[in-house]
Assembly symmetry: C2
Homo-oligomer: 199 residues x 2
């Protein structure tokens, strides 16, 4: 009974509270945000906040988790985002990550703020790594022998570094341009990426 059913109405309210939190973190930093700020900004009653969340930390956790879950799911579901897939060896599905981040750039911009969402700087790269580990299989050029776990970590964090740069330069490169760059760099040491669905 502690977790009740989810309804569209509840989700909507939670989402609005989350959006308020994003705005307020950008405005004054997470530390300074109060529950009162959040309900003022989102125009809910203070009581309403406590129906959904115990305090701002739970709200923050929920926001982070749902965005990162969304990221994982975006990779899992068939490519709706990137339409014209470049005819390259590298699996287009990897670029769902890029599209998802771009679509939700309002959220991911949080990574450029000092006093920001708790755990964002740790969980975001961990999620990238998790996706790389669970969904992709790589092949080195000429089948050069390497520890594949290390190779996966290496490419995941390399990709993360590029993402950070793209985000913090305000997405000045277009999605297409950015994807081009990622492909070029991947090709320096990667022969192919295979997408492995579930399991």
């Amino acid at each position: 009974m502690v977790e009740k059913t989810i309804t569209p109405r509840k989700n909507r309210t939670k989402e609005h509270l989350q959006l308020a939190l994003i705005d307020l973190i950008k405005e004054k930093g997470f530390q300074a945000v109060t529950v009162k700020d959040i309900v003022n900004h989102s125009k809910y009653n203070r009581s309403t906040f406590y129906i959904h969340y115990h305090d701002k930390f739970y709200l923050a956790e929920d926001l982070l988790d749902s965005m990162l879950n969304g990221l994982e799911e975006a990779v899992a579901k068939p490519y709706e985002r990137i339409k014209k897939v470049n005819t390259l060896k590298l699996n287009a599905r990897s670029f769902e990550i890029i599209s998802y981040i771009y679509e939700n750039r309002n959220f991911f911009e949080l990574i450029t703020y000092q006093d920001t969402l708790p755990e964002l700087h740790t969980k975001f790269p961990q999620t990238i790594l998790k996706i790389y580990q669970e969904k992709f299989r790589f092949k080195t050029i000429n089948n050069m022998p390497v520890d594949m776990d290390f190779f996966t970590r290496y490419t995941a964090y390399g990709f993360y570094g590029l993402l950070l740069h793209w985000i913090s330069t305000g997405f000045t490169a277009s999605q297409e341009e950015f994807i081009e760059e990622v492909i070029k760099l991947s090709r320096t040491h990667m022969a192919a990426v295979k997408y492995v669905g579930e399991k």
Copy 2:
């Protein structure tokens, strides 16, 4: 009984429907937007839409009116927006308009779309003119004699032209830069602007 009381809850819902309309106009044009699109996007029930609005045209009207009312009110209330007022002859209050537009750029960008909010292209400049007529009194350089009604219209539409340019270039100039330009141009034929509060 046709117009019931306004409550925060009602306003919030209406606002969310309005925001959905803005997004959808940008996405597919006003003509193509359906009530179903609007409630899908804003995650309300279709019935809920009809509680608040008769059809999408009433919603559009409400959106436009509230934004333009907001513009008028922004000028009327003491300058909270522009902090450091340049020590110029020209009344800083005029620049509340610029700040308001910038803060609500998501809405005002609609003016750059072809199939957009009905009446936007007529009512927006009319509102600028109304503000100029009701809130400001101008002085020509050296008290050059002109028909003051004409002079007001002339400066209002001149300002409107600059605003259009600023908006449709994606607000690349900062608020401060843009204000600078407006001041420079005003000075070519204007000795002072006086703000006249109510009446």
